[in-house]
């Protein structure tokens, strides 16, 4: 009995120690391992294998897959970085986190020839999202912009402004045809993206260029007015204030909507999930606020950065350059549907078939709008989403004033996050 217990205890102790031993065993003597912490990407392992082969034994990238939800990814990385974990080498960051990580000195800047190599041929919008305080802190990996998807069997010419779109939808509704305008309105980042699209299209500013002061100028009030008008005109779906990307995609595939404002990933899903509807769906630039001024839309996507605590920073920089090179970006664009951040990739003939909407994406990317570039973006986004939800309850002037105070508190890390 006592012996059995002792054996069990010893076994338990060994089991506890084994993973620790695995952690402790460094790459002494062997090939240095570079840990890449990134959200799940389809076929990412193929890209990593390609780079490992090209490195020819200089380094070996290991893919540490983070959770699917953006918040969980960020919390896990931030916890490790706050504890100065030196087992993280390359970090896959959402475009909105770069400033935060840079300001906290958690990621290294790219300098000299490395910086020049990354900047060469990379689109300006994604590059801005990777820059903080005039320095380049991350390498843009993929990018993203929302498009207007519409039913060409119902709408002969795409609307260019929100007013036109709302009128067209109401007309279809009166005729008893599918009429809804579907987009994301739940209390989360997607609502902030919608707000940012409208603000940028109206020429407004939420936060000053240096990211230190809340502005909320005339343009933001216009944006709030359009948002309220859209939410109350009777053109949205009943679950607008509770919808995220996939809810919107599915509702459109069901044939409920005439218009959908969503990321390009909906295209390939539509071809496979709703083949009878797919030929009737086409795309256009995101609607503007004024007919004369083209819309400006929010940039999404991800960047690759090198941890400040990495034990192999130079190798990690080389690995980043390989992971995001033009060939690998093209591979992931075709396989995983990620829009590339290097302009020349769009011109590749293979892209035409997988990415027929590439010209529309490129046009929007040329003058796209970043989200407020501040290290406190996460806080700003949380308070903005809380203040704007539900969009039908917006009172433009009052909401703008309340937002200004809440955003300033968030930037000064004075406010309580909801």
């Amino acid at each position: 009995m006592a012996l059995a217990r002792r054996i069990a205890a010893a076994a338990a102790a060994t089991m506890l120690l084994t993973p620790l031993a695995a952690c402790g065993s460094d790459d002494e003597g062997g090939i240095p391992t570079l840990n890449l912490y990134q959200f799940p990407v389809q076929d990412m392992q193929t890209v990593i294998d390609t780079c490992n082969q090209a490195a020819a034994g200089r380094y070996e990238i290991a893919y540490q897959v983070l959770p699917r939800a953006a918040d969980d990814q960020r919390v896990q990385m931030v916890r490790r970085l706050a504890a100065e974990d030196d087992s993280m080498d390359i970090l896959g960051l959402d475009v909105t986190w770069t400033q935060e990580f840079a300001s906290a000195h958690w990621i290294r800047g790219f300098t000299g020839a490395d910086r020049a190599e990354i900047e060469k041929g990379t689109l300006a919008g994604p590059l801005a999202s990777a820059t903080y305080d005039g320095k380049l802190y991350a390498a843009p990996n993929n990018t993203n912009v929302q498009l207007l998807w519409y039913r060409k069997d119902l709408v002969p010419t795409p609307p260019t402004t929100w007013d036109e779109m709302i009128r067209a939808s109401l007309k279809l509704k009166a005729e008893g045809k599918p009429s809804q305008v579907l987009t994301m309105g739940a209390q989360y980042e997607g609502l902030v993206v919608l707000f940012n699209n409208l603000v940028a299209s109206a020429g407004g500013h939420v936060v000053s260029d240096d990211g230190k002061t809340a502005v909320m100028d005339e343009g933001t009030v216009t944006a709030l007015r359009v948002m309220r008008q859209f939410a109350t005109a009777g053109v949205t779906s009943a679950s607008f204030s509770n919808s995220i990307e996939d809810d919107v995609r599915l509702a459109f595939q069901n044939g409920d909507g005439a218009f959908q404002l969503n990321w390009p990933y909906v295209y390939s899903a539509l071809q496979s999930d709703a083949p009878q509807l797919a030929p009737n769906v086409t795309w256009a630039r995101y609607p503007a606020i004024d007919a004369g001024t083209p819309s400006r839309v929010t940039i999404g996507g991800s960047n690759l950065a090198v941890s400040a605590y990495s034990r192999h920073p130079d190798l990690a920089v080389d690995a980043v350059k390989c992971l995001r090179n033009a060939a690998n970006q093209k591979f992931l664009a075709i396989k995983a549907g990620q829009p590339p951040s290097i302009e020349s990739v769009y011109a590749d003939p293979e892209m035409t078939k997988a990415y027929p909407m590439k010209q529309a994406i490129l046009d929007e990317l040329k003058d796209a709008a970043p989200r407020p570039l501040t290290p406190a973006y996460q806080n700003v986004s949380t308070v903005v989403a809380a203040q704007l939800s539900p969009p039908s309850a917006i009172d433009p002037a009052r909401t703008a004033a309340e937002l200004k105070k809440a955003i300033q508190d968030a930037i000064d890390s004075k406010g309580v996050l909801p």
């Binding site: 931030v78 949380t382 996050l417 909801p418």
Partner: protein, 311 residues
């Protein structure tokens, strides 16, 4: 808790002059418990004092350069904030409702476990299963059960609604999950109290013509009072810190945040050590006040300590 109870005793004794031997004995007693006391202080006092120290600063990991001492500014911010009070209200609501239900159901369960003659071990073990399941695992099964499409409960109760996306129904589900989970724990504590009720007393009451209800209310409850109060104190303090169920079921959406959730969001997601620590200190104070009320006003004491005090 014990310190509060022991104070009057110590004061009374110090009036009596101690003999040399007694004093020696007392010194030895102090020496013997010193290592344990030092470890306790190191593991509990240090983090408490450190979070109090953090709560007096503007300290945000995103802006390491802007760290400064701001006295009680963070307290003014938190106590003047609507989100905090909403979370506080939700926490209180969950605590009061779940503890009341747990007390009633737990008492019933305790009586069953106490009175069972056949298969006693089996009954007690099966009653304890919910408490034995990891909260996160249980919470996930509740979540899937209440999600339209995957769940049997969602489609049963509301054919075309999503109960976890509306405030009232989401709070009700959180409370049900809490009650389901901790009623066995309550029953266990109450069963210990039931064991204190002498069989002879019940028989005597029965002889005097007391009905079953009268025996329960007039004999069992008064004898069990210390055990009930301890059980209530434990569960109230526990329920105040509710986190895992909410984290899994709603993650605080639709104003279902508890104080622990909002503190976690500010600390872990917001990286704001100042505001987050302020919230932790405020939770700590709330817990301390409630424990104080229980001990001072209701006379809760650790089992056994009460008798000694009377002696």
């Amino acid at each position: 808790m014990t310190a509060v109870v022991e104070k009057p005793r110590k004061a009374a004794r110090s009036k009596v002059a101690l003999s040399e031997g007694k004093r020696q004995e007392r010194r030895l007693g102090w020496l013997l418990c010193a290592p344990a006391a030092i470890v306790m202080v190191a593991v509990t006092a240090y983090p408490i004092l450190y979070s109090f120290w953090l709560s007096l600063q503007r300290y945000d990991l995103k802006f390491p350069g802007d760290r400064e001492f701001v006295w009680f500014d963070n307290y003014i911010t938190v106590l003047g904030n609507g989100y905090w009070w909403s979370a506080f209200g939700v926490t209180m609501l969950i605590t009061v409702i779940s503890v009341v239900f747990e007390l009633v159901l737990g008492m019933g369960l305790a009586l069953i476990m106490h009175r069972t003659l056949i298969g006693r071990g089996l009954v007690r073990t099966s009653a304890l299963i919910p408490y034995g399941i990891v909260t996160v695992v249980a919470a996930f099964s509740w979540r899937y059960a209440w999600t339209p499409g995957t769940g049997y409960l969602a489609n049963l109760v509301t054919p075309d609604g999503a109960p976890l996306t509306e405030r009232a129904s989401a709070l009700a589900i959180i409370i049900v999950a809490e009650i389901w989970k901790t009623t066995p724990f309550m029953a266990l504590l109450l069963m210990a109290g039931l064991a204190l009720v002498p069989e002879d007393l019940l028989k005597a009451a029965s002889m005097d013509g007391a009905s079953a209800w009268q025996r329960f209310v007039r004999v069992m409850l008064p004898v069990m009072k210390p055990a009930i109060l301890v059980a209530l104190l434990f569960r109230t303090l526990d329920a105040l810190r509710v986190f895992d169920n909410i984290y899994v079921l709603t993650n605080g959406a639709n104003d279902t945040r508890s104080v622990s959730i909002i503190a976690y969001d500010n600390l872990m997601k917001g990286l704001n050590l100042g505001i987050g620590s302020t919230m932790s200190v405020l939770i700590f104070l709330t817990v301390a006040i409630i424990a104080f009320i229980f001990v001072k006003l209701f006379g809760t004491a650790a089992p056994g300590a009460g008798d000694e005090g009377k002696r």
